[in-house]
Symmetry: C2
Subunit: 102 residues, 2 copies
DNA sequence: TTATATGGTTACAAATAGTAAGTTAATTAA
DNA sequence: TTAATTAACTTACTATTTGTAACCATATAA
């Protein structure tokens, strides 16, 4: 008996975890490189970022592009699906701003 | 050097975890008892529900009311802060419905 | 007498997440 | 010439979190 996940559950599984929200938040501003994300997201470790980005890539939320520079440059950018999630983050930001300290 | 959390991070910390979203989803319909939530939320265990509800109560997202029946009845209900979060869940649901299978 | 219901708790195992260091290869600084 | 730096990760290990299963008191119903 497999349980059919509800829409919310499905969305949460696609996004992954807490770090995903913060990665997405950065990518809404502009595409970013691995170490840019590492520096921008407070408290994230390299392996947490690797796992998060791989998960987001697998779920078509971000694309990963490698440029053969020396050293190599890797850029992460939102897909249409990823951009569409911005509405959720905007509401979350609004809620956090209004209720975050109450 | 303590890092100041961004608004999104703050919101995520207040909500807690994945289960919180699913508990809130149930409570938007109506107030619920512990075992009602346990049955309604697929895959949640008693201790996960306990932890989640305690966290939500601590953060003023839900209220906990005990009725001295036999056996005891405990009702969980959303606060104004909890109700306000509905906008976020609505957007998440919309996104999940549109992009969940792509 | 056995089962069911309430709202949890407890002990333990399993899974996940975080920490610190290392990797390859080239470039730059002393 | 040697050491440090940068890029984008990986690896090994530990710590924390999560999940599983059983249990608790009390009372009513079958």
């Amino acid at each position: 008996m497999e349980a059919i996940p509800c829409t919310i559950e499905k969305a949460l599984n696609i996004i992954g975890n807490k770090w995903s929200f913060l990665v997405l938040k950065e990518l809404y501003v502009d595409k970013r490189r691995f170490n840019e994300l590492l520096r921008a997201i407070n408290g994230i470790s390299p392996n947490a970022l690797t796992t998060t980005l791989k998960h987001l890539e697998k779920n078509n939320i971000v694309t990963r592009t490698v440029f053969p520079t020396v050293p190599v440059t890797v850029e992460y950018e939102l897909t249409e699906k990823g951009i569409a999630f911005h509405k959720v983050l905007k509401e979350m930001k609004k809620w956090g701003a209004e209720w975050g300290d109450k």
